[in-house]
Symmetry: C2
Subunit: 244 residues, 2 copies
DNA sequence: GCGGGCGTCCCGCACGGTGGGACGCTTCTC
DNA sequence: GAGAAGCGTCCCACCGTGCGGGACGCCCGC
């Protein structure tokens, strides 16, 4: 984070200084978060406004709508999302639970689309948000069908704990990934959040590479994993075929 | 478009060279679309890769997932979308038609969320996409509750035609906006796309300013505007109240 | 009334962006 | 199979512009 060189890195540091539920930020706060000198952060913010990426609101500044428009064109999420949404909709209809679509980025998953269900548990996941791959169903489903160096990246990043049941031992995770590879379904039994369970299945591309994963999540007391697992698996297989 | 000054404007020109359904672009194509010299476009693209906004795929380059993450944090769409989705879902359930949520940006509307309906018509709208405000129901709904200078911006931009029924006369549009202001509902009778009709209602903030609009759209032959209008109006009023 | 934090702006120095052009490569066409 | 046309990549001498410490006036809370 701190003070990188190149103009663009600094500009990106200002953009990424905005967190998930910030509205407008001032120059001082921007400087603090980006690690840039105050006058530099301020000048870059004004440049970003002029470039159309940030918007002014009074003396503060916030992320501009143009960034949203550009973000919707990102191929990694767009092609997957457009193809997946109908199947996700069916999956929610059939299971009456919350449906997730996510992709892997480094050692974390990024949620691309979420179809919520009324009465479902509050999820730690948000569209555009990140969670460590190894504590989520979607993450483990993707990892099980990814090359060894990708799995290595995750383990090297450190298997941090989210709940008391999170898998934090590398050997244990490796064995679980083998089981997932054999079954085609990954499970999360209160490993990402207390009281929340989830069944996930990978979305595979033409060459068998993992593009992302689908999952169904709900209360541990109100959802039977054995019942939803075949549904998720089927939806993921069908979706994978349509991408071929 | 062509060759603006400042580094950031050039970088943004490269980012906006990517269109809605592009995947990867090469250096020459990037230079052509951004109006930059080839070697400049190429170098900036490499800088953007290093900054994490673009991703390499072979010798080509595409929009990176980080842009999607940042885009999801943009307040103008996030707060509106998060508050609106439950009501949009109810609206689709009740009407069995396609539901739109959009905001105004300059002389155009930007679609923030779309809940499609099976069997519905193919829409010219996409999430993150733009359409001229005056040819859409959501656009007219927002304009009717916006200050005069905003309406002026739209008229000055030129009232281009989308279909044979699009409103292109400034006086006619002004009169229609008055009717909308009185009724609280705007209509689009095949003005944006042939065979497509739509009823829309504005989402208003605490001071009565238009933050965006909700709409319900469907085939002109399969949807009765008089039946869906009260539903959209009610949903928009309820949503407006929750934002207060 | 006072102090701390804020947004804003200035300005001389030096550093890094600029882009025409060259190079080697692939892909068609004749 | 020769040629042309397009591509991605890289170099380098010039010069424009980003840099940030510091100063200023302001608003707020103690």
């Amino acid at each position: 984070m701190s003070s990188d060189d190149s103009f663009l890195r600094r500009a990106v540091a200002v953009l990424t200084a905005f967190r998930a539920d910030d509205d407008g930020l001032g120059a001082a706060e921007l400087a603090r978060r980006s690690g840039l000198p105050k006058s530099t952060a301020h000048r870059i913010a004004l440049d970003l406004v002029e470039a159309g990426l940030l918007e002014r609101q009074g003396s503060r500044v916030r992320l501009g709508l143009r960034l949203f428009e550009i973000g919707q064109r990102v191929p990694r999420q767009r092609v997957l999302r457009d193809a997946a949404v109908p199947y996700m909709s069916d999956l929610r209809e059939a299971t009456r639970q919350t449906v997730h679509l996510a992709v892997l980025e480094g050692a974390e998953v990024v949620y691309v689309e979420i179809l919520g269900s009324p009465g479902g548990p509050p999820m730690p996941s948000k569209v555009g948000g990140r969670l460590p791959a190894h504590v989520t169903g979607v993450g483990k489903a993707i990892l099980a069908f990814s090359p060894p160096e990708v799995v290595r990246t995750v383990m090297d990043a450190g298997l941090v704990r989210a709940t008391g049941r999170s898998v934090t031992a590398p050997g244990l995770l490796a064995r679980e990934l083998e089981t997932i590879r054999a079954e085609g379904v990954a499970y999360d039994r209160e490993e990402s959040g207390n009281g929340i369970v989830c069944a996930a299945s990978p979305v595979l591309g033409p060459e068998g590479e993992a593009l992302g994963a689908l999952s169904v999540s709900g209360w541990s007391t109100g959802m039977r994993l054995a019942a939803v697992a075949p549904a998720v698996h089927t939806a993921a297989l069908t979706l994978s075929r349509t991408l071929g």
